[in-house]
């Protein structure tokens, strides 16, 4: 049944091409919410074996080359399908106001979503790669046509980086395919590749995927791409596309080449830690709100890579949980910055925003941004905390030093998040000290004369409120009860063969 997420999404894209544009956003909403319903319903099913990558569909596709249309699901895939559908629904809600060529907009958007579902559910290496590459071009058009700030540069950079990563992945996939003469991921995971092949094929494959996950120093597409993208585009990039890279690294590179992974895991951990600290430090100095969030994405994805590098159950499960968590939180942050603030004020410059007393004008936005920032900083009670603590416990066993350095990074994360929060919302002349969050959030806008309020900002619309509440609910729910996901992720991770024994 979970396979229908793919079919429904692609059916939605075809409908969008043929139905009049008045329907487009409704089609998109209907499509994405039904995929959400499906993935949630699949979570509820007890009869599904989520500990193994269990086949759902398997049809011969190109028998001459051993390619199959082969889909499978386990706890990891299912978690990522869930976060994809959550991000998709909310990104549609946050693009409710797209009036320029809406058909095409939602067409590209659904292509990204459908391709991502495909990647997460593919059990055939070629099929996985098809879906993986399918996602590249829609991103280009989403950004180049509907983007802002330097959009053509950002779009092209993003696309070329993705395609570069894709080229590396291509080499790795062909190496695996030619050596083992199979494309079935489960068969490949049992195959014993020669250590010599693993030693060069693993880094190529992993780095190829990790480009999309924003690994330092190949992360530079992420901030520019996020900034240039329209709101929904940033949400998809942060929420879904970066996960594609991390997922590919886990499912393909690490699972296929365990020995190669052991040879290189230290290097991955080093790059991950550099990424966490470096991106956080850079974010501290940004003036553009979206750049701050873009770098925070890189920093958070550093945690995912660190978790993967630990090669033990806790670390890797935490990494998957962090993928979910960052998907939700990143999407929420970009929604506030892109839709709630930028669409109304037409600026993202923190200094300009600080003059606007946005906490009075957009109390709901302030409320959402406070929650998102708290979640992003890793305050207990939100999903970010559950994920990062799991990763750090896992990492403590393998890389104790990395944990210490990461601790510095977390302080920096808190610092830049608070700085952005303060500057964007709580720095008007008559601002109340930013400690008392709750009261601020619910306090009605003060009555001021038009002269004191130079810009009229339209109120937060219903779809925005819905989308924000949806994402907040997701992060809080998982923050309070992470077992819901972890119970399904952990058995699936335990089934993988790269785990260090005794780890």
């Amino acid at each position: 049944m979970i396979a229908w997420t793919i079919y429904i999404t692609f059916a939605g894209t075809i409908l969008l091409l043929f139905l009049p544009r008045a329907f487009s956003r409704w089609i998109a909403l209907l499509t994405t919410s039904s995929t959400f319903a499906i993935s949630l319903a699949t979570f509820g099913r007890q009869d599904l074996d989520l500990a193994h990558f269990a086949t759902i569909v398997r049809v011969p596709w190109v028998p001459a080359l051993g390619m199959n249309y082969h889909l499978a699901v386990d706890g990891i895939s299912l978690t990522l399908v869930l976060v994809t559908s959550i991000t998709a629904v909310s990104s549609v809600l946050f693009s409710w106001d797209v009036s320029e060529r809406p058909n095409e907009f939602f067409f590209w958007l659904l292509l990204v979503v459908g391709g991502s579902f495909g990647v997460f559910l593919s059990a055939d290496l070629f099929l996985l790669f098809v879906f993986y590459e399918l996602v590249i071009v829609p991103k280009y058009f989403l950004i180049a046509i509907w983007g802002s700030t330097n959009k053509e540069y950002g779009a092209m950079k993003l696309t070329l980086y993705s395609f570069f990563g894709g080229a590396l992945v291509f080499i790795g996939i062909i190496a695996a395919y030619v050596s083992a003469d199979s494309l079935d991921l489960n068969e490949l995971a049992q195959f014993r590749f020669s250590p010599q092949l693993q030693s060069w094929a693993f880094p190529i494959l992993f780095v190829g995927f990790a480009v999309l996950a924003g690994i330092w120093p190949l992360h530079t597409w992420a901030p520019t791409g996020h900034v240039a993208a329209p709101t929904a585009g940033s949400m998809l990039l942060a929420g879904i596309v970066m996960k594609l890279g991390a997922y590919g690294g886990l499912r393909v590179a690490m699972n296929l080449f365990p020995q190669g992974f052991q040879m290189w895991s230290n290097w991955i951990a080093i790059l991950a830690v550099i990424g966490i600290v470096y991106a956080a430090a850079v974010a501290l100095r940004q003036r553009d709100l979206k750049f701050v969030i873009g770098y925070s994405s890189v920093s958070h994805m550093g945690f995912v890579l660190l978790g993967l590098a630990t090669a033990n159950v806790l670390g890797v499960s935490g990494a998957v949980l962090q993928m979910f968590s960052h998907g939700v939180i990143g999407a929420l942050l970009f929604a506030v910055a892109g839709r709630m603030i930028y669409r109304r004020t037409h600026t993202r410059d923190l200094d300009e925003l600080s003059l606007m007393e946005l906490n009075r004008m957009l109390p709901f936005a302030a409320f959402v941004f406070v929650i998102a920032s708290a979640a992003s900083m890793g305050i207990p009670g939100f999903s970010g905390f559950a994920a990062e603590i799991t990763i750090l416990i896992g990492a403590w066993k393998t890389f104790p030093i990395a944990v210490w350095i990461t601790g510095v990074g977390m302080v920096l994360v808190a610092a830049f998040t608070l700085r952005a929060l303060k500057k964007s919302f709580f720095e008007g002349e008559s601002a109340i000290p930013s400690g008392d969050v709750k009261e601020l959030a619910v306090s009605p806008p003060l009555m001021t004369s038009p002269a004191e309020r130079p810009i009229h900002l339209e109120p937060i619309s219903v779809p925005e409120k819905l989308g924000a509440s949806f994402l907040i609910f997701a992060t809080v729910a998982i923050g309070i009860y992470p077992k819901f996901l972890l119970d399904r992720i952990q058995p699936a991770v335990e089934a993988m063969r790269f785990l260090k024994t005794g780890g």
Partner: protein, 505 residues
């Protein structure tokens, strides 16, 4: 061996020849009005109407002739061999003869109303098609050379056919000069091969060469032969004619040069080196090169990929851009032949097939836009998505397939080619070429995306001459069909791969 047998086996060629003659007669007798159109500006309207009718009639006859020729191929026996390989029928040859005829068919549909003297133009296209049929169906050096010459001479004429455009004349002359030099090289090389092997039949050449080592004389013969083919497929550094020919020729000629001529050249190149020169394969493996034809082709491929992609980056004319990208694609396609074997050759055949459909479609779009805006520079395509969403969508399919993105045929084609090349060679020795080709595709994505950006991002405010894009039903149909083929073979590549693999011995 009676001549009746010959006539039976050569029925497709004979039918196309007859069609060419009939079309020529129709053209000459009915379109005298147009022949003087340039001279007397006050041409009566009735003559114009008569020309339109005769054009349509010519197209109809030519198309019909091609369809009958396809029928004739389908009725040929599965295996036959006349005069030691001069005319060979085999599943592979028939498959690609049909493909050449289909490509000619589309070219003719695209060519409608392209030039005055329409009948003559069609007749030359058909003559070129006969050359392609001979090329594909022959496994003997002399016949191959005759096929090459027949195709080449017809294509030179087709290139120079636009008498109102000086660039067309320039392109034709350049193409002719380069082409005749390359032919001379080929003939010289073939004479060396004949001298060494003592025969002109490919299978016998292989036996003859197996007995001897690679002498300098033989190597010179091989290299010279390959030069001629490198010219045909526009591989660097023998590609210099391509940009001018693609840009200056009438659009349908360019489409035919890029598609039909390319397919046939790759088929026959593959046959010559894999069958005829099989014993002197050599090796193109990194650090382990062994003299033979494969390192020569590997160097050609590497040059083509680099030069084609890098120079394409700075083009502002879409047809020139397609020409340089064609150079790069020739490089990719050579990978399969270098890899050799059944898998490598079938990958090459698959790729060149889908490539030709892609280019027919892309040139079709160029032709329509040129008719609308009067130019084919990139800026003439600005806002095409607003003027004609259908054409813009098709162009997106073609460009993305060329860049090698799923779910289009180009993606599968590249995967097939690269995995074949990776598999060949001891210890993945061809990895360097695969990595280079992937690097090339990365570069190419940039310029293909620029084309699409121009088409999709800019929204032209005025919708001028909407009608021109909406007219030309035949051209639009061809374009949509080509796009459908590219999409279909991307989703279901098995359809073609299985056929090619069955046909290969």
């Amino acid at each position: 061996m009676s001549y009746l047998d010959l006539l039976k086996l050569a029925a497709p060629e004979a039918i196309v020849t007859l069609t060419a003659l009939v079309v020529l007669v129709i053209g000459v007798t009915t379109s005298r009005g147009t022949a003087v159109a340039g001279v007397s500006p006050a041409m009566p309207r009735r003559a114009a109407a008569g020309t339109a009718a005769s054009t349509a009639f010519c197209t109809l006859v030519a198309a019909l002739g091609l369809v009958i020729a396809i029928e004739a191929i389908l009725m040929l026996p599965a295996h036959a061999n006349l005069f030691h390989g001069m005319l060979v029928t085999s599943p592979l040859n028939s498959l690609f003869q049909i493909l050449c005829l289909v490509l000619a068919f589309f070219t003719i549909l695209l060519a409608s109303r392209e030039t005055p003297n329409y009948g003559e133009y069609l007749a030359i296209i058909l003559l070129a098609t006969i050359g392609l049929l001979l090329l594909v169906s022959s496994e003997e050096l002399l016949m191959i050379f005759i096929g090459l010459e027949l195709t080449g001479l017809s294509l030179y004429l087709m290139t120079a056919f636009d008498k109102t455009d000086i660039r067309s004349a320039e392109a034709g002359l350049k193409y002719f000069l380069f082409g005749s030099t390359a032919s001379a090289f080929t003939l010289f090389g073939l004479s060396f091969i004949y001298g060494m092997a003592g025969t002109t039949s490919l299978a016998a050449i292989a036996e003859g060469l197996a007995a001897q080592s690679l002498s300098p004389l033989l190597f010179a013969g091989i290299v010279m032969t390959l030069v001629g083919f490198a010219f045909k497929i526009a591989a660097a550094p023998f590609h210099l004619w391509a940009p001018d020919a693609y840009q200056g020729a009438p659009v349908s000629s360019a489409a035919f040069i890029a598609s039909g001529s390319k397919v046939a050249s790759f088929v026959v190149l593959g046959k010559i080196v894999l069958i005829g020169f099989g014993p002197v394969h050599g090796s193109a493996d990194w650090h382990a090169m062994v003299a033979g034809w494969s390192p020569v082709l590997a160097v050609l491929a590497a040059f083509s990929i680099l030069i084609g992609n890098l120079v394409a980056l700075v083009q502002t004319n879409l047809r020139r851009l397609l020409a340089y990208s064609a150079v790069a694609h020739a490089g990719y396609t050579l990978l399969g032949i270098i890899a050799g074997g059944r898998e490598g050759f079938s990958a090459t055949l698959f790729y060149t097939t889908i490539y030709s459909f892609t280019l027919i479609g892309a040139f079709g779009v160029v032709a329509l836009v040129r008719r609308e805006t009067g130019g084919d520079d990139l800026q003439d395509f600005a806002g095409l998505s607003a003027r004609s969403p259908l054409l813009a969508g098709c162009m997106a399919v073609f460009m993305l397939s060329l860049a090698g993105l799923p779910p289009l045929a180009g993606f599968f084609g590249k995967f097939y080619l690269f995995s074949a090349a990776f598999r060949a060679g001891a210890n993945h020795g061809l990895l360097w070429l695969v990595a280079l080709a992937l690097f090339g595709s990365l570069i190419s994505l940039y310029y293909y995306l620029i084309v699409l950006k121009v088409i999709f991002q800019t929204q032209g405010a005025e919708t001028r001459s909407h009608s021109i894009l909406a007219q030309n039903g035949l051209s639009r149909l061809t374009i949509v069909f080509a796009a459908a083929v590219v999409l279909f073979l991307g989703i279901a590549p098995q359809f073609l791969v299985a056929r090619i693999l069955d046909a290969l011995p």
